[in-house]
């Protein structure tokens, strides 16, 4: 559905009403994953491998089963092996079969009548491991002779002769690299590394499964996608999708990390075996050890530039590791690396290597922040060395309509230049800097997408409206969706209540990811509203005895149009709704679609930092985010995405990292030493929303959720490098690392 060219004036979209779930969330009443209970509920708990890599020789659960109060024990053999590679990986990540592939990999689970008994039962399970050599570093994993995490997993696209840990390879780009580099006045090549980081949602994974003797099951869980949970769990448990109903709880953050399953199939298996509802709540330690961090990366980037700032060629080699299972995130990184630039010759290569780390899960714009960090760092260094203004250079080389993108297609309308111009015009860009301070700039890019979406919209007889949608509200989407319904129907926002449905109440909805919800669910809501409007117009036409085509919908009411204009007083939505039983029955609109046309998204971040030359400590002084939202439906929550993404990126740049010991064990599985930014670390995060309508959405909406995490890594790295007077090439730029660089 294309942009409504006429729809430029909004009455409600663009305002900032209170979110419908606000009171529940400020009074503690909102129910999150761990807040669910069921009568007779058992506590589930999971035994995890203490080894980074080990063959599971045997598991003896008899002593655990003998403990009073233990109602079920499951291990890998309780799950039927999957034919499909993708499903098998998801399943084996939930419960190891032959090998434990990382520190924290699940090897057995129990359900017991109390947490204490469950804990005792875990202790009573005897696992005999044959410890194997491990590898946790991506560069080490691709070397000949590295311990092989999983054999035989390489895709057909991996060239022969590489380490068996390399599972995936890709190449993108165009043009003659040699000719491009020959035109450059300066070529800089640098190698970079980034640590794996965790999404760091505050709510640990939690679920409650209830499997009944007739083969039906209910599952309540915190997830970004109840329908995908149903797909995965029904396949893993071996049941029909129709027999499993998944109801999403409120979700305490996800950022991509709750787009898959970890404990849900285990809880279902335990419930099936015990005949009782089973609840599993992860500890924070488990969240860090066994749920999805990002890929870790090692990258080489080479870029050539002329003296006047024209990029002549760019090349990137991205080696990612998505942990112990194959992972395609390198595809996304390799496509995104140079997306902001109009370059004649560009080539990116991506690789994924297996390591003994937890399986990667998506994290906001997966794969892009790392690659763009490396590219934007080299661009910045070129600007420094050539004495060029970094913003002018970005503008000079910015991708625009007609640019052959680095990942293949020719761009149509994109908002990068306008975003850069906004940054250039902002007072932040020219504000003075003090000693030991530096300013960093970075562009960011993400694809965004749409996906499978269903919305049902019910006209209540009192003139109010219920909207039923299928994507968990992770950051105010009920408000945005209600706003779009209100806008389209022409009734007050307060008259609409939007709820998130279970898997039986709607058709399939893709996961809340790809920055898709406001865009796709919004689009489907508008279409569903139009469907309902068409039905209401038909009722009015019957009532008036005129043709349906002769009825318009204006300000929440049917009005006679054309030759009948003014003949009858308008019939409001409430009036039509009130008589709906007499005029043919209930009125509802719905819409089902696999949405395309999300449109790619660009952002520009500006940051000032100060580096303490004696300790390497970095203080973020000022931060401004510029981003095109297409149309900001609820600007508060658009700003919130921009601010939250920026801060996650700040954490990634400065302090967050998965730290593995020589023993392959995770050293920092807690919020004490996995250091996400705290309130006192940060300045205000200023936001500038641009609104360049997305032609793929009736209101011009563009997804905003993921792009904001892309630029901060390089923006901070560039600011720190300028402040410190030395180029930093490894994330996080923790104080010891900066101090070391300062001391040469």
């Amino acid at each position: 559905m294309a942009l409504d060219q006429a729809k430029r004036e909004f009455r409600q979209v663009g305002t900032r009403p209170n979110r419908p779930d606000g009171v529940d969330k400020v009074t503690g009443r909102a129910q999150y994953g761990a807040d669910m209970t069921a009568p007779g509920m058992l506590t589930g708990a999971i035994l995890r491998s203490p080894h980074a890599h080990a063959r599971i020789v045997s598991i003896d659960t008899s002593a655990a089963e003998a403990i009073a109060g233990v109602r079920a024990v499951v291990t890998g053999v309780d799950f039927t092996p999957q034919e499909d590679n993708f499903l098998r990986d998801v399943q084996e990540n939930c419960m190891a079969r032959d090998k434990a592939l990382y520190d924290g990999h699940a090897v057995a689970a129990v359900a017991a009548t109390s947490p204490a008994i469950a804990k005792a039962a875990l202790k009573a399970i005897k696992v005999v491991y044959e410890v194997l050599p491990h590898v946790t570093d991506v560069d080490a994993a691709v070397k000949p002779g590295a311990p092989i995490v999983q054999a035989g997993r390489a895709l057909e696209n991996v060239p022969a002769g590489m380490s068996e840990n390399v599972t995936n390879a890709c190449e993108f780009g165009h043009g003659d690299l040699d000719a491009g580099f020959a035109k450059a006045d300066l070529v800089i090549e640098r190698s970079f590394k980034t640590a794996a980081t965790h999404q760091g949602y505050i709510e640990p994974h939690a679920c409650l499964a209830s499997f009944t003797a007739d083969g039906k099951a209910d599952l309540w869980c915190c997830t970004q996608g109840q329908f995908f949970v149903r797909t995965l769990c029904s396949a893993i448990i071996g049941m029909e999708a129709s027999q499993l109903r998944v109801t999403p709880s409120e979700i305490g953050g996800g950022f991509g990390g709750k787009t898959t399953v970890f404990i849900e199939p285990v809880a279902l298996a335990l419930s099936k075996k015990s005949g009782r509802p089973v609840k599993i709540v992860m500890t924070r330690d488990e969240v860090f050890k066994a749920t999805g961090p990002t890929v870790s990366s090692s990258m080489d980037v080479r870029i050539g530039m002329t003296k006047d700032g024209r990029i002549t060629a760019g090349e990137a080699n991205l080696r990612y590791s998505g942990g112990a299972f194959p992972c395609g995130t390198c595809d996304m990184g390799a496509q995104a690396a140079f997306a902001a630039y109009d370059v004649e010759a560009v080539r990116t290569y991506g690789w994924n290597a297996l390591t003994n780390r937890p399986k990667e899960a998506a994290y906001r714009a997966p794969g892009a922040p790392q690659a763009i960090y490396a590219v934007e760092s080299v661009v910045d260094e070129l600007c420094q060395k050539l004495g060029l203004d970094p913003l002018a250079v970005r503008l000079k080389n910015a991708a625009h309509k007609g640019t052959l993108s680095s990942y293949g297609p020719t761009f149509n309308e994109i908002g990068l230049e306008a975003t850069l111009e906004a940054a250039k015009a902002h007072p932040h860009y020219t504000a003075p800097l003090g000693p030991n301070q530096g300013r960093g700039l970075s562009c960011g890019f993400w694809f965004n997408f749409g996906g499978n979406t269903c919305v049902s919209l019910n006209i209540n007889t009192d003139g109010t409206v219920g909207v039923t949608e299928g994507n968990p509200d992770i950051g105010g989407s009920r408000a945005s969706i209600s706003l779009m319904a209100a806008e389209e129907l022409g009734i007050p926002y307060e008259n609409i209540r939007t709820i998130v449905a279970d898997t039986n109440s709607l058709g399939y909805n893709d996961v809340t990811d790809g920055s898709r919800v406001t865009f796709s669910v919004g689009l489907a809501t508008i279409k569903a509203a139009r469907d309902a409007i068409a039905k209401m117009k038909a009722r009015a036409a019957r009532f008036w005895g005129i043709d349906e085509e002769a009825v318009d919908w204006v300000d929440g009411a049917a009005v006679p149009a054309g030759p009948n204009a003014g003949k009858f007083p308008p019939l409001t939505l409430a009036e039509i709704a009130a008589t709906s039983p007499q005029t043919g029955g209930p009125i509802a609109g719905h819409y089902e679609v696999n949405v395309d046309g999300a449109g790619v998204s660009f952002g520009v971040h500006l940051v000032d930092v100060e580096v303490d030359p004696e300790t390497g400590a970095t203080k973020v002084l000022r931060y401004t985010v510029f981003q095109d939202a297409g149309k900001a439906v609820h600007p508060d929550y658009v700003e919130g995405q921009m601010q939250g993404g920026a801060v996650q990126g700040i954490g990634w740049a400065l302090n967050e990292e998965y730290i593995y010991g020589a023993d392959g064990r995770l050293q920092n599985p807690g919020f004490l030493d996995y250091r996400i930014p705290v309130a006192s670390d940060l300045p205000n995060i200023e936001t500038v929303i641009l609104e360049i309508p997305n032609p793929g959405h009736p209101y011009g909406v563009r997804g905003v959720g993921e792009t904001p995490i892309v630029p901060p890594l390089a923006a901070i790295a560039n600011a720190v490098s300028r402040a410190a007077g030395v180029r930093l090439t490894e994330l996080p730029m923790s104080p010891p690392r900066i101090l070391k660089a300062l001391k040469g």
């Binding site: 696209n157 890709c170 080539r347 906001r364 297609p409 694809f447 997408f449 898709r516 696999n594 790619v600």
Partner: protein, 81 residues
């Protein structure tokens, strides 16, 4: 005939061609023809590919019509977070 641009990796199975021509009027037909003409592409197509049509990315819309002269680019299946 539709000209289909391929990303670098796929060129290993098209004798190095960065762009191939197939007889197709929809996204699905493009995929089917490519799998027939270049069997080496089939595994990737099975895993999922998206298509950019004049710069608009279609994740999996089989029936998406392709008009003469439109720019068709294959891309890996989109994923997000």
């Amino acid at each position: 005939m539709v000209k289909v641009k391929l990303w670098g990796t796929l060129r290993h199975w098209t004798d190095g061609q960065a762009e191939v021509e197939v007889e197709a009027a929809t996204f699905k037909e493009v995929l089917d023809r490519l799998s027939e003409l270049y069997p080496g592409l089939a595994p990737q197509i099975r895993r999922g590919v998206s298509m950019s049509l004049d710069g608009v990315i279609y994740r999996e819309a089989w029936f998406q019509e392709i008009k003469p002269g439109q720019e068709v680019v294959l891309m890996p299946y989109m994923q997000g977070g």
